[in-house]
């Protein structure tokens, strides 16, 4: 069963096609890796899926429901939430309160939201830093906070936009373990990442974007041996 279907999605900014005719499916409980060179349209695709941009053409279907034009808050309440490539902590709130804001998506009780937030911080191992201001966190911790906050909204599908960007190998490894842990709990994830090793380890399927178009789709093994993908990343041999 596909939890998310992208059907012939195009997004134009004036004459520029940031995405053109992209189609793929995300099976339930899987991790789909989304890769492509800079400017391939990965983040625009995320924006179209989560409601920050309306697709110019095509459809986004989540659990059988057409989402086009639905705003991000509605999309989140339906069970799909994203993190940001450039992290967006609520700086002047404590780490705990950041996650409480996410948890309030499913409850009106602040007390209950705080309990959920405490548990979620333990999952990403930020519970020791619950009371410090989010603005004071290191980049690695900020990425974890983004994940905890998104998870606190109890999503069915989590979209991670370069959560490992800018992290050192040890921190990346921690995030990889976290993503696998989340998968085991039954969550579906779409992961944008540049680190091919991480993508190979995490993904059940990989979608490659290039200049806004879907270049290839397949298992990680198929993708790394795909001639078109190699050309897109390294350039064609003369």
């Amino acid at each position: 069963m596909a939890i998310l279907e992208i059907r012939h999605l195009s997004k134009y900014f004036g004459g520029l096609a940031a995405n053109s005719d992209v189609s793929f499916e995300v099976p339930e409980r899987s991790i789909v890796g989304l890769i492509g060179p800079n400017g391939a349209g990965k983040t625009t695709l995320f924006n179209c899926i989560t409601g920050y941009e309306a697709p110019s053409k095509g459809e986004v279907v989540f659990q059988g429901r057409r989402l086009n034009g639905l705003k991000p808050d509605r999309v989140c309440r339906l069970g799909m939430v994203r993190t940001w490539q450039k992290v967006r902590p609520l700086r002047n709130l404590s780490v705990l309160d950041n996650v409480v804001v996410g948890a309030l998506c499913r409850t009106n009780s602040v007390r209950e939201a705080r309990e959920i937030a405490h548990r979620q911080l333990a999952v990403v191992r930020l519970d020791q830093k619950a009371s410090i201001l989010a603005g004071a966190l290191s980049i690695g911790d900020r990425k974890k906070l983004e994940m905890a906050r998104a998870l606190a909204t109890r999503p069915k599908l989590l979209l991670l936009d370069e959560v490992m960007g800018g992290l050192n190998p040890a921190e990346s490894e921690e995030i990889i373990q976290l993503i696998l842990e989340i998968k085991n709990q039954g969550l579906t994830q779409i992961v944008i990442e540049h680190d091919m090793k991480a993508i190979m380890r995490l993904s059940d399927a990989v979608v490659v974007l290039n200049s806004g178009e879907k270049l290839a789709e397949g298992s990680p093994e198929e993708i790394v041996h795909d001639q078109r993908v190699i050309e897109a990343y390294l350039g064609a041999e003369p």
């Binding site: 902590p89 609520l90 309160d97 602040v110 998104a150």
Partner: protein, 355 residues
């Protein structure tokens, strides 16, 4: 119980006790203070506390720096005064009509201005409030235009045949102001600890991130504005009936909007106590400057000789310069205490505690 939570518990008890004491003193004050000038100052402080706290819910918590709050102040003031003077409806009914008028105003302004963010929102809030002022100025058959409305009498308030007050002294206004001010502080406190408060702050910190976490920014900004407008309108109505005269220049001006913002910023944006501190400092300061109290004080303290040229100059001109001095003080606070007085003191205390 850990010693740490014990200390927190004790600190909470101390602050609760001092709060109760402060409120008690404020309620008993008119029994001991005969000076009408002191009562007048206190009423002005209450009114400014109400407007500052109301603004703080929208500006401080939600991060929407409205510089058009005179519109809600004026909506309350004009509705109450028109009903009182031309329809003979007592103000304690009129103020609720004023609240409704302010809410309608808020929804109109919100639907226009909340499409914009940051400085564009600020400019739009000024512009829309100005449209209201100019409209009131020109709708002469309803509002009496630039001449304003002067009330001739306030009907006495009685309940079950017993006269409660006939409004002939400042005391009833004092208590009305005090109750309204306590009410808005209570609401601010309650909102700050609720889901609403979290959502307001999330929008202030990062609207896009808030949006992705299931928060509809437009709805929650309008809720913040509505709460803010309700209490600003109460302050406007109270001011109007207390002073007994309003015109567009006094209750709908940009100066008033700016003054409302200043109370929040100087006291401390996003704190419950900030607007109280802001009002308690700025009202006596601006009244003192206006009545030339500072020049008189300098002369009386012997710092300046009234016969000298400098003394004569100060005595002559310092009273007129109150807006200038007020402005300089505001600049100093913004430069050196960007978090306002409450934030500054809190930080200083935290620094001493951590040393």
């Amino acid at each position: 119980m850990t010693p740490d939570s014990n200390a927190v518990y004790r600190a909470r008890r101390i602050s609760l006790a001092s709060l109760t004491l402060a409120i008690g003193v404020l309620f008993l004050l008119p029994l001991f203070v005969e000076s009408t000038y002191v009562l007048h100052l206190m009423i002005l402080i209450f009114i400014n506390t109400i407007t500052g706290s109301s603004w703080n819910i929208l500006g401080g918590y939600t991060g929407q720096y409205s510089v058009g709050h005179a519109a809600y102040f004026g909506a309350g003031a004009y509705t109450t005064m028109i009903l009182l003077q031309y329809r003979h409806i007592a103000p304690w009914y009129g103020i609720w009509a004023g609240v409704v008028a302010a809410l309608v105003t808020a929804l109109i302004i919100g639907s226009i201005c909340f499409r914009l963010r940051g400085p564009y929102f600020v400019l739009a809030s000024i512009a829309v409030a100005e449209i209201f002022r100019v409209s009131v100025l020109n709708l002469k058959n309803i509002t009496n235009g630039a001449e304003g409305i002067l009330i001739t009498e306030i009907p006495p308030l009685s309940s079950g045949g017993i006269l409660i007050t006939d409004w002939d002294s400042k005391v009833p206004f004092y208590f009305t102001g005090l109750v309204f001010a306590l009410l808005v502080i209570l609401v601010s406190w309650r909102v700050g600890r609720s889901k609403l408060g979290y959502y307001f702050q999330a929008i202030r910190e990062d609207q896009d991130a808030a949006h992705s976490l299931g928060i509809n920014p437009t709805i929650y900004k309008n809720i913040a504005l509505s709460i803010s407008a309700i209490f600003t309108s109460l302050a406007g109505s109270l001011y109007a009936v207390y002073v007994g005269f309003i015109d567009p220049g006094s209750v709908l001006s940009v100066e008033l909007s700016v003054q409302i913002v200043m109370i929040g910023i100087i006291g401390g944006v996003g704190t419950i106590l900030g607007p109280v501190v802001g009002a308690a400092l700025l009202v006596p300061l601006s009244e003192g400057l206006r009545s030339n109290a500072i020049a008189n004080l300098l002369i009386r303290a012997g710092i300046v000789d009234p016969e000298s040229r400098a003394g004569a100059f100060l005595k002559e001109n310092l009273g007129h310069a109150h807006v200038l001095i007020y402005g300089i003080l505001v600049v100093i606070v913004i430069l050196f205490m960007p978090e306002g007085l409450v934030g500054f003191v809190r930080r200083a205390v935290a620094r001493r505690a951590s040393r």
